[in-house]
């Protein structure tokens, strides 16, 4: 059985995740071997997924972590104070 490009595109995401059935995977692979357009679409999609996952894409604001932990410290402190009050200290 031969499948067309349009059908292959529908399988690309599952192909990248290696979650196709062995039969469908085989069909897709055979198509990719001779179709340069679908191969380029697959390669570009995979490349974009890898780039998107890279930690450098999203930059953290300077001081973000310090501000976060300072706010948490306040919350934790007031929580402790409440607990002390509740237990009658």
């Amino acid at each position: 059985m031969v499948i067309e490009c349009k059908h292959v595109w529908n399988y690309l995401s599952d192909y990248l995740d290696d979650s196709l059935s062995p039969e469908t995977k085989e069909l897709v692979q055979r198509h990719l071997e001779h179709c340069e357009i679908c191969s380029a679409i697959l390669d570009s999609t995979r490349n974009i997924v890898v780039l998107t996952a890279d930690d450098r894409v999203f930059e953290l604001p300077i001081g973000y972590s310090e501000r976060l932990h300072a706010r948490l410290a306040q919350e934790i402190e007031s929580n402790e104070a409440r607990t002390r009050k509740d237990s009658g200290d």
């Binding site: 349009k6 595109w9 529908n10 690309l12 995401s13 599952d14 990248l16 995740d17 290696d18 979650s19 340069e36 357009i37 191969s39 380029a40 679409i41 390669d43 570009s44 999609t45 995979r46 490349n47 974009i48 997924v49 890898v50 780039l51 998107t52 996952a53 890279d54 930690d55 450098r56 894409v57 999203f58 930059e59 953290l60 604001p61 973000y64 972590s65 501000r67 976060l68 932990h69 706010r71 948490l72 410290a73 919350e75 934790i76 929580n79 402790e80 607990t83």
Partner: protein
């Protein structure tokens, strides 16, 4: 769990990746949570440290500006602290935390905007076909290209262009490396819906980014003999 980047030998394993779902073998989170609930509340700082970046990324991709993203991230961590006793450990702490972050971002957006959020009716139109950008060949864009600000910016922009339903699936699965099942749990949708949305999200990203990234390869450096 089959992870995209690891299913292909030509991709260096885990290169540059620090998603939320990366295991921290030396940490016993269940034990840390038990200690916090028993009164050692300061341990919460350590519990959340590996997730600071991930929560901010989720928040930023929804809020699209840094101050709001930081507010949402802080609020999510505070809520998780206050509700820690509700965490039953059926899911991972990271999955639970990300659900809190998403809810916080969504409700903040709802409050900010008079434009209604996408309704579930629009989701049912997910059957439509998305054609990718057609190319004859693809020259791999190396991860070093991310040193360039404009490359980072077009990636962030493309994620921001996805509608929230697709963005959240893409972020959890491809950025945070959640499995299909974990993504489904965090978003309270079925694994089948995750797959459909992920496929569309990836195709939309390819369609927008491939033409822009095609020429992003760093120029070859030539040595001059003189």
């Amino acid at each position: 769990m089959a992870i995209t980047r690891r299913a292909h030998p030509e991709t260096p394993e885990g290169a540059g990746l620090t998603g939320m779902n990366v295991e921290h073998p030396d940490r016993d989170e269940a034990q840390m949570i038990a200690a916090i609930l028993a009164g050692d509340t300061r341990q919460y700082h350590e519990l959340i440290r590996p997730y600071e970046r991930s929560v901010y990324k989720m928040a930023l991709s929804f809020m699209k500006n840094e101050p709001d993203a930081e507010d949402v991230a802080q609020e999510a961590f505070l809520k998780a602290f206050r509700k820690l006793a509700d965490f039953r450990g059926q899911a991972k702490f990271s999955t639970w935390l990300i659900s809190i972050t998403l809810n916080e971002a969504r409700s903040r957006l709802r409050r900010q905007s008079t434009v209604p959020m996408e309704s579930l009716d629009q989701v049912t139109g997910e059957g439509g076909h998305i054609s990718p950008a057609l190319l004859r060949d693809w020259r791999e864009v190396p991860s070093e290209a991310l040193e360039r600000k404009e490359i980072r910016a077009i990636l962030v922009e493309a994620i921001g262009h996805l509608s929230p339903l697709y963005r959240e699936v893409l972020l959890l699965r491809d950025v945070e490396e959640f499995s299909i099942e974990e993504t489904a749990t965090a978003l309270t949708i079925t694994p089948g819906t995750v797959k459909v949305r992920l496929h569309r999200a990836r195709m939309m990203m390819q369609k927008e980014l491939a033409p822009k990234l095609k020429n992003a390869n760093p120029r070859r450096r030539w040595f001059q003999w003189s």
